[in-house]
């Protein structure tokens, strides 16, 4: 269940980055007509995510470019600090959403 929520958050982040990058690309003179479709997909996705988690995501997004980051070899790929092994063990369980003790970003573990 939690994994599904994290997957939705990663998808939301990818979509947000795509939308913001398209804005930059549009400024370069490219034509973008389909942005409304992306905005609609975002709204649909947002409606599936719980309010508290979405609030955390939005708050983190204001501070960092990426609010949700993977953990690889026990290292948070947001701030590159080591994640305690105990947290990595718990993080791989499908029970809760965890954040990095160093930077506060939401974490997900790569298989």
């Amino acid at each position: 269940m939690v994994k599904k929520v994290l997957e939705q958050l990663v998808a939301l982040q990818d979509l947000d980055m795509m939308i913001s990058e398209l804005e930059e690309v549009e400024k370069l003179g490219f034509e973008i007509n389909g942005r409304q479709n992306l905005e609609e997909a975002r709204t649909e996705l947002v409606n599936k995510i719980s309010r508290p988690l979405l609030y955390s995501y939005e708050k983190l997004k204001k501070r960092y470019k990426r609010a949700i980051v993977p953990v690889q070899n026990n290292v948070c790929l947001g701030c590159f600090q080591r994640v305690p092994t105990s947290l990595s063990v718990r993080g791989r369980d499908d029970t809760a959403v965890y954040t990095c003790e160093g930077c506060g970003r939401i974490l997900y573990w790569l298989e």
């Binding site: 990818d14 690309v25 370069l28 003179g29 490219f30 034509e31 007509n33 389909g34 992306l38």
Partner: protein, 153 residues
């Protein structure tokens, strides 16, 4: 970013001096096939699909005979630019409805540490906005001539 920095992203083997394609779809396939032939990607389908989706959001034919299909995809590890020239010109549904002669395909991975994708795209648009540079690139026949052209900007 300087114009000469763009040279780092070109590849001699991703240089097509005479594109056979007559439509946008054929052009995308022809260029992406070169990536596949060089084993820069395992399969062309994912890259092609990304490019088609990007075109559905709005044409990358920016007018004046130029198209810059671009996007991020998981199938590449570095930012790359492929160059293709159509001497006859092809129908690309460009913003100015004119045939496209020069295609610069810019492909980037989803995340890059150096974050060069947008600066590369921006610099390319800036360089190609210059009429005399466009004319010079239209006349190139070899990769070395293209590099010489780009390094003189």
């Amino acid at each position: 970013m300087e114009a000469k920095d763009l040279l780092n992203y070109f590849n001699e083997k991703l240089f097509i001096s005479d594109l056979k394609a007559t439509t946008k779809e054929e052009a995308l396939i022809e260029i992406v096939t070169e990536f596949e032939k060089l084993h820069l990607i395992k399969t062309k389908d994912i890259l092609l699909e990304m490019l088609r989706q990007r075109e559905a959001l709005g044409t990358t034919g920016i007018g004046k005979g130029i198209a810059i299909p671009h996007g991020r995809t998981t199938v590449v590890k570095d930012v790359m630019i492929a160059f293709a020239k159509s001497n006859a010109g092809l129908d690309y549904s460009s913003m100015d409805d004119q045939p496209v002669h020069l295609i610069f395909m810019v492909i980037a991975p989803p995340v890059e540490e150096s974050n060069k994708y947008l600066p590369v795209l921006g610099k390319l648009v800036e360089v190609l906005n210059n009429h005399s540079t466009r004319e010079k690139i239209m006349a190139v026949k070899t990769y070395d001539e293209l590099i010489k052209c780009m390094s003189e900007v």
